[in-house]
Amino acid sequence: MHGRLARRLVGSTMTGLTYGAAALAILPLAVILAMLLVKGTGSIDWNFFTKAAVPFGEKGGGFSHAIVGTLIVVGLACAVGVPIGVATGIFLAEFGGGRLGFTVRFVADVLNGVPSIVIGIFAWTWLVKPMGHFSALAGGCALGMILVPILARTTEEMVRLVPNSLREAALALGYPRWRTSLVVVVRTAAAGIVTGCLVAVARVAGETAPLLFTALGNQYFSTRLAGPMAALPLQIYVYALGPYDEWHRQAWAGALVLIVLVLALSLFARAVIRAKRQHA
């Protein structure tokens, strides 16, 4: 019948279009990964992880200072951003019904939209300038400032998912409000909160702009928190723009390492969710 064939055709075409759109969405990630693997794998060697930068153009250098630097700066960001962000999220979910909650939520949403370079300039004004020098601490704080509004909103969503019947059950047992929030609600939402943290950390690990004016980057291996520190995104930036082929090779390798780090964190976060869902 004519009508039925036409309907089937339209249905199949539409389904095909949605599949096509999905493929287009995945395509950039696939291409990026493929490109990094092709260009970067050849430059990954033992030196890459163990040696810091060597004089311009010479061979044998590595990114150890940048890798360690990223770990330190991101670690500082977590120390600053995770407690404040998660606590704010819990506040918003448990006690955030009134005007204060509305204001905090609004401010967090606005901050989530602020470009990261602006956060970097803000950190420069309030941390670098008074201190008189660039520092890993300032870089960590800048990244932490990016973490706080993200974590506040994701934590709030996760805590809200805890059914009200659990809160009532705890209150009916004679738990005071604070204990209900901390022990019952947060414990139940913990896996979701951790996942939110992992995804947010994966994101800030790759931020370059805020570090430009705060951690600045460093050619030498350093673990001094009060001094400038190298970081993977910064080092990639400098090396990619430089004139030496050796630098370009290492920039590709650095990009590969960075994306592997981000992927690993994201996959770990999904594994945590899946483990929790199976248990439930």
Partner: protein
């Protein structure tokens, strides 16, 4: 907790000796904003009895139940008028800590709500964490005693460390009962406890209620009249927020005095 009562609460209509009932209300009214959930309810629950609150949907029986352990006020915009007397002391008197009240009056809800991140044993002991300190040995004993009273011990004694989510709905509800009785409250409130259970689970809970009344005072809200007839000693019928009639269960179901009671019991509405 509070100063001694001014006078003992009135005796029940069953012509028993004039002792203070375990739980009683005097002129209790509960508001949601400007509308009333229940109006001017005066009811007495004697010790070691089961009182059933019955009535059609929206009649205020759950509102009344939640007023008995100060859960009603947790909803914003609510208000309570009148008195609720636990052993003669008004639990709504200013200065009374509602958290303390809820430790003496326990509640089991319609849906089983085990804490998902705690094991079965930890769930049962959850109420102990906010009471007096107990030693490890005592804790284990209390857990076993509570599970036995909830008729769940034999089924879970070998898997106390497992997740409560592995249990069936009926078992989870019995776990919630065990969790409620473990801290030894004086009164247990049950809000339609078998509404989400199958007939087997329902039968277990109903047997449990008969056992529980030996140690506690029980108030149960149920929309199932047959259940009220099976498990309770005293039945109170509510309609549109008012207490229409209260009396011994057998009399309520065989010779009710008010016409609305008779209409509800014979199934003409609700």
């Amino acid at each position: 907790m509070t100063p001694p009562p001014a006078q003992p609460a009135p005796a029940s209509p069953a012509a028993a000796p004039a002792t203070v009932p375990r739980l009683a209300t005097e002129g209790l009214t509960a508001w949601y904003g400007t509308s009333t959930g229940v109006r001017d309810v005066t009811l007495a629950c004697r010790e070691n009895t089961v009182t059933a609150l019955i009535g059609p949907s929206g009649c205020g029986k759950s509102t009344l139940l939640r007023s008995l352990n100060r859960m009603h006020e947790l909803v914003p915009g609510t208000r309570i008028g009148g008195r609720v007397l636990l052993d003669g002391y008004d639990i709504y008197e200013p200065g009374v800590n509602p958290v303390q009240v809820r430790r003496r009056i326990g509640m089991v809800f319609q849906r089983p709500t085990p804490f998902p991140t705690m094991s079965i044993a930890e769930n049962v002991a959850a109420g102990l964490a906010v009471g007096q300190r107990v030693s490890r040995g005592e804790r284990a004993e209390i857990i076993e005693h509570a599970l036995r009273r909830a008729a769940l011990w034999d089924e879970v004694k070998d898997r106390l460390g497992d997740s409560p989510l592995d249990l069936s709905g009926g078992q989870q509800q019995r776990l919630c009962v065990a969790r409620t009785v473990a801290p030894e409250p004086e009164v247990i409130l049950l809000d339609e406890p078998t509404a989400s259970l199958d007939p087997a689970g329902t039968a277990h809970i109903e047997e449990l209620v008969q056992e529980l009344k030996r140690e506690f005072t029980v108030v149960i809200v149920t929309h199932n009249m047959q259940q009220a007839a099976r498990v309770s000693d005293v039945t109170a019928f509510f309609y549109l927020g008012e207490l229409i009639e209260v009396g011994p269960t057998t009399r309520m179901f065989t010779a009710p005095t008010k016409p609305q009671t008779e209409a509800y019991i014979t199934g003409r509405f609700g």
